[in-house]
C-alpha cells in the first residue's frame, strides 16, 4: 500500500523509520541512566572492582 503523505513512504517503510527512531530514543535513555549509575559505582570504592582503578588511572 502506498502512503500519500509528504514523506512518500509506504506503511512498512514508515514503521521502520518509527522503529529506528524509537530504538535510538530508548538507547539514549538507557545510556543516560546507566551513566548515572556509573557515578554510584565510582563511589563504592570496592577494592575488588578494578574497573574503577582502570578508569582513574593514567593521570
Amino acid at each position: 500500500m502506498i502512503d500519500s503523505t509528504p514523506k512518500g513512504l509506504n506503511v512498512d517503510d514508515r514503521n521502520l523509520v518509527a522503529s529506528e527512531e524509537m530504538a535510538h530514543a530508548i538507547a539514549a535513555e538507557f545510556t543516560n541512566t546507566i551513566a548515572e549509575l556509573r557515578r554510584e559505582l565510582q563511589m563504592t570504592d570496592d577494592p575488588s572492582d578494578w574497573m574503577n582503578l582502570l578508569q582513574r588511572g593514567g593521570q
Binding site: N15, S19, I26, F30, I34, A35, L37, L41, D46
Partner: protein, 455 residues
C-alpha cells in the same frame, strides 16, 4: 487407559485450543507413551524421582528443544537444528512425566503480552477478551485451563510470573543458575531462568527438586525449617513510593495477602526497595545487549522476518555501547549488596504486586507489530525484572479474583537459595484461599454469546 492423566490432557488440549490458542504443537503420541509408561515395571524409573511426577502430563514453552524438534520460538525466523534436547525435559521425562506438546510464547521470549503475529494471540481462559501476558503465555493458559497440571516456561524479566498472575496460577522462578538452561532458546543468558507453572504447590516443589537433583551443580537450597509457615516469618511490604505503578486491583491483591499473612502469624514490616528503579533499567540494558549479541547474524540476514516490536528491541541492544553493558553488569554486585543490606537483613520474604494491574483486554495492549511495544509495556515488568537481575527466587501466587472475575496475585521474593521458604508461604496461601478449586469453564457458543472459536 483412557483414564490416564496424559490422555485426559490431550483431550482437554484439543477442546480448549480453538478458544485460547495456547499450544503450538500437540503430541498425539503422548497417550501411547503414557500407556507404555504405566505398563512398565516402575523399578525401571529413576529411583530418585518423586512418585508424584509419574504419569504427570507436562507441556513446554516453544523455546525448549523437546523430542529433537527445532523450537519455533514464536518467530518466522528459523533456527538451526539443535544437537540435544533440553536438560529440563530430559530430567522430568526420566522422572516419569509425559510431554504432551509445546506452548505459545512471545517472539523469542522478548515481550510480555502473549500477542503474536506468527501464532495469533493467546487468550486468557478466565475471559477470552483478556490477555494472558507473556512471554510464557501458553504455559500459563494451559495450566489455568487445567489442561496440564504442570507447565515449564522461562523467566528473564517476569515471563513466568506475569502470565501466571494474569491467568491465576502459580509461577515460580527459582534462584538463578540452579536449574539447567541447556537446550533452551536463550534471550539473556545472565538472567534466563527456567520457570515452573502449576496449580499445586506440592507438585511444583516436587518438579523443582527433581530438576535440582539432576543438575551438574548439585546445588541444594536451604530447606525451610519453619514448621508452620508463615508464622514467625518477617514479611516485607514495600513503602508506598514503590507502589505508584500499581492500580486498585493490584493493590487489592496486595492487601488481601497482607491480611492473610498477618492472620497466619507473620510479622509485616515496611521495607525499602529503593534500588528497584535502577535495577529495572540495568536489567533492560543487560537483556537488550545480550539479546542483540545473540541475534546479531540472524537480525542482519533476516531482519524482515522479525516482528517489528522485537526488531526494535534488538536494535536498542545494538545501539548500546559495550561500556554501558559492562556498567549495567557491574551495578549488579552493588545492587545485590544493597538488597541484602537494605531489605533481606530485616525481612525473610518481600511481598509486592506482580504486575501493575489484573489482566488487561488484548486490545488494550500494543500489537507485536508496534515499534513502541517496548515503551508501552515498560511498567508491566517493573515488579518482576529486578529479581531476575539480582537472581533472587520469586513466585507469583494467586490470592483471589477481581469483581470482573479476573485473577489477583502477589509476588513473594526471598534471598538466594531460600526457594523453599517461598514455596512454604505459597502453600500456606493456597491452603487458606483454596483458589485452585475455582476453574475457568470451557467456552461454548451457548455460554459465550454465540461466539465461535478463534482459531
Amino acid at each position: 487407559m483412557t483414564g490416564l492423566p496424559a490422555v485426559a490432557a490431550l483431550r482437554k488440549a484439543r477442546a480448549w485450543q480453538p478458544w485460547i490458542n495456547c499450544f503450538v504443537t500437540i503430541d498425539d503420541t503422548a497417550g501411547d507413551r503414557a500407556e507404555q509408561l504405566a505398563a512398565v515395571d516402575q523399578s525401571d524409573a529413576d529411583s530418585a524421582a518423586p512418585v508424584q511426577l509419574r504419569g504427570i502430563p507436562v507441556a513446554y514453552k516453544d523455546a525448549f528443544v523437546v523430542s529433537g524438534r527445532i523450537p519455533g520460538a514464536g518467530s518466522r525466523v528459523k533456527l538451526a537444528q539443535p544437537t540435544a534436547r533440553a536438560d529440563v525435559e530430559r530430567i522430568l521425562s526420566r522422572s516419569g512425566t509425559v510431554t504432551i506438546g509445546t506452548l505459545h510464547l512471545d517472539e523469542f521470549s522478548y515481550a510480555a503480552t502473549g500477542r503474536s503475529e506468527v501464532l495469533g494471540d493467546c487468550r486468557n481462559p478466565w475471559n477470552l477478551e483478556h490477555a494472558t501476558g507473556g512471554s510464557s503465555s501458553g504455559a500459563a493458559a494451559a495450566v489455568a485451563a487445567r489442561i496440564v497440571p504442570l507447565a515449564i516456561g522461562t523467566d528473564t524479566g517476569g515471563s513466568v510470573r506475569l502470565p501466571a498472575a494474569w491467568c491465576g496460577v502459580l509461577g515460580f522462578k527459582p534462584t538463578f543458575g540452579t536449574v539447567s538452561t541447556a537446550g533452551i532458546v536463550p534471550l539473556s543468558p545472565s538472567q534466563d531462568t527456567v520457570g515452573l507453572l502449576s496449580t499445586d504447590v506440592e507438585l511444583l516443589r516436587q518438579a523443582y527438586h527433581a530438576l535440582l537433583g539432576n543438575t551438574l551443580s548439585r546445588v541444594r537450597p536451604r530447606r525451610a525449617d519453619t514448621p508452620h509457615p508463615p508464622a514467625g516469618l518477617r514479611i516485607g511490604r514495600p513503602t508506598d513510593v514503590h507502589l505508584q505503578v500499581a492500580d486498585e486491583d493490584a493493590l487489592a491483591g496486595l492487601h488481601i495477602a497482607e491480611k492473610a499473612l498477618g492472620d497466619l502469624g507473620a510479622a509485616l514490616v515496611e521495607t525499602e526497595l529503593a534500588y528497584m528503579p535502577a535495577c529495572d533499567t540495568a536489567a533492560a540494558v543487560v537483556t537488550a545487549s545480550e539479546a542483540a549479541a545473540l541475534h546479531g547474524r540472524l537480525l542482519h540476514d533476516h531482519a524482515g522476518a522479525y516482528q517489528l516490536g522485537t526488531r526494535t528491541r534488538l536494535r536498542v541492544g545494538q545501539l548500546l555501547s559495550a561500556g554501558t553493558y559492562v556498567d549495567a553488569l557491574r551495578y549488579r554486585s552493588v545492587a545485590i549488596r544493597r538488597a541484602m543490606a537494605e531489605t533481606f537483613t530485616d525481612v525473610d520474604v518481600v511481598l509486592t504486586p506482580v504486575a501493575p494491574s489484573a489482566a488487561p483486554k488484548l486490545t488494550d495492549l500494543p500489537p507485536p507489530s508496534s515499534p513502541g511495544l517496548s515503551r508501552n509495556t515498560k511498567d508491566l515488568l517493573f515488579y518482576t525484572r529486578t529479581f531476575n537481575y539480582l537472581g533472587f527466587p520469586s513466585i507469583s501466587v494467586p490470592v483471589g479474583f477481581t469483581e470482573q472475575g479476573l485473577p489477583l496475585a502477589v509476588q513473594l521474593t526471598a534471598a538466594p537459595h531460600a526457594d523453599d521458604v517461598l514455596l512454604n508461604v505459597a502453600q500456606a496461601l493456597q491452603d487458606l484461599f483454596n483458589w485452585s478449586s475455582r476453574q475457568p469453564q470451557l467456552p461454548s457458543p451457548a455460554n459465550n454469546r454465540g461466539r465461535r472459536p478463534f482459531v
